[in-house]
């Protein structure tokens, strides 16, 4: 065989290998959420897990930490893949770690509201956590809409909550010109009643479209080009595969909760203005006394920084800190730099407050 024919054969072989990788990455789910955990509580679709500690009890922090993620995404972004997992990191740093997985609401859950999540589900999950951990006090970490839920909970049931960490928390909706979602769900353009009347719950596909359409070029084009350009680099491919598995695994949002999100928060900005009523109780943010760390992603297109900045002025906490970090909504916790910047900062802040 001539050298040019060999080169051509090699080239086709390389293309074949690349296409094989492409097929695998686009057509399969990555092995994610591998950290061992035990299911300790369930209610309807919600599940509470306790991660198996890896540090001896005497070296562990006394105060347990509960992770609460958004309602319309799977929570395993906290534990994306071995070696790149916030859960793994926190376990290695001695935390007694719990995860509240909301599960996927069915049509029978369309009436679930923030009221149910914060006053029925969370208190019961926390009661179980207290029973299992043996500690009355606990810490909460909420991310995205999980931060809305934890903020509401912290205001409604402030007792025993020692530390509150809010990641990219969409709490203040006043600067509508900076929040693209606010524009899209403006009552002039978006009929929330009609959507929920048709679907019951907010469909996962529509939520996924909404999140991706905020940065259409990056999400629909750039993301796939990045993969194609790095098909020969297993490190990039595996990271992409894991993230893509998570990004494409969205779940619907309970209809009434979605209505509250749009009407009470995006349109009326009721939470930050202390006008939000949940289960007949006013959510008064000044009742929050827990130590507060709010983490803001400077390049967040889903929750722009202006949505998370004002909470520190509303709470009564004596210890409060705003930590700003370059990166996006998900990248600050699950990106390649998270293990060097965000996670150590959370540990450094939380560790001394957890004993």
């Amino acid at each position: 065989m001539s050298s040019s024919t060999e080169t051509l054969v090699d080239h086709f072989r390389q293309i074949e290998e690349r296409l094989g990788t492409l097929n695998r990455v686009l057509g399969t789910r990555a092995a994610i959420a591998q950290t061992p955990k035990q299911l300790i509580w369930t209610l309807n679709k919600a599940k509470l897990y306790r991660y198996t500690p890896v540090v001896p009890e005497e070296k562990r922090h006394r105060i347990p930490l509960l992770l609460v993620f958004a309602l319309m995404n799977r929570p395993y972004i906290f534990d994306l893949r071995p070696g790149h997992s916030f859960v793994e990191f926190m376990l290695q740093h001695g935390y007694d770690l719990y995860l509240l997985d909301w599960g996927a609401p069915g049509i029978e859950d369309k009436k679930l509201k923030f009221d149910d999540y914060t006053l029925e589900y969370m208190p019961r999950a926390i009661r179980k956590l207290q029973s299992v951990s043996g500690s009355e006090e606990f810490s909460l970490l909420g991310w995205c809409i999980g931060a809305i839920l934890t903020t509401m909970y912290a205001a409604l049931r402030p007792d025993n909550l020692r530390n509150l960490i809010l990641l990219t928390a969409p709490l203040d909706f006043s600067q509508k010109d900076k929040i693209t979602f606010s524009r899209w769900v403006d009552e002039r353009f978006f009929d929330v009643d009609k959507v929920l009347s048709a679907f019951g719950n907010m469909p996962a596909e529509m939520i996924e479209y909404g999140a991706k359409a905020l940065k259409p070029f990056e999400n629909y084009v750039g993301n796939y080009l990045k993969l194609y350009e790095n098909l020969d680099d297993p490190r990039v491919v595996e990271a992409w595969h894991a993230m893509n598995t998570w990004v494409t695994d969205n779940i619907p949002m309970a209809g009434e909760t979605f209505r509250q999100l749009i009407v009470d928060l995006y349109r009326q900005n009721a939470l930050i203005e202390n006008r939000m009523v949940v289960g007949g109780e006013l959510v008064d943010l000044s009742r929050i006394r827990a130590n507060l760390l709010t983490v803001i992603a400077e390049a967040d297109h889903i929750t722009p920084p202006c949505q998370s900045e004002t909470i520190v002025d509303k709470v009564s906490s004596t210890v409060k800190e705003t930590f700003r970090i370059s990166g996006g909504h998900i990248g600050i916790m699950a990106g390649s730099g998270a293990a060097k910047r965000t996670w150590p900062h959370i540990d450094a802040w939380l560790g001394p407050k957890s004993d």
Binding site: S4, T7, L8, H11, F12, I15, W41, T42, L43, N44, G106, I107, E108, D109, K111, E120, R124, R127, K128, S131, T180, R183, W184, D186, R188, F189, F190, D191, K194, V195, A198, A213, L214, K215, P216, F217, E218, V221, G222, L225, Y228, E229, H301
Partner: protein
Amino acid sequence: MSEPTTGFDPFEAWRKMQEANMDAWAKAMVHAVNTDAYAKATGAILDAYLTASGPFREALEKTMTQALQQFSMPTREDFISLAERMTNIELRLDDLDAKLDSIVRKLETPVAKESK
């Protein structure tokens, strides 16, 4: 010396274009979606879809409900009602479980103290 032969790469042209214009494209698209015009357009498309599909969906649901009732089969509403009742039972069981936990702990505490 001649340059090494490069094979056929269907994405090469696209990649070069993308490299050159990625930032500009990205910024332009982000700007485009963050406008009232885009919000109005997507809202109108969604509204048109819901308006068009609504009567069919309602007719289908009505027919299905009637058919299931004719055959004495449970409807979606029946299942929803059942699921809600199940959740209420779960809530009560959870409270009972917590109370039992608390009682067991209280019973165990004096025994532990006495044994010291």
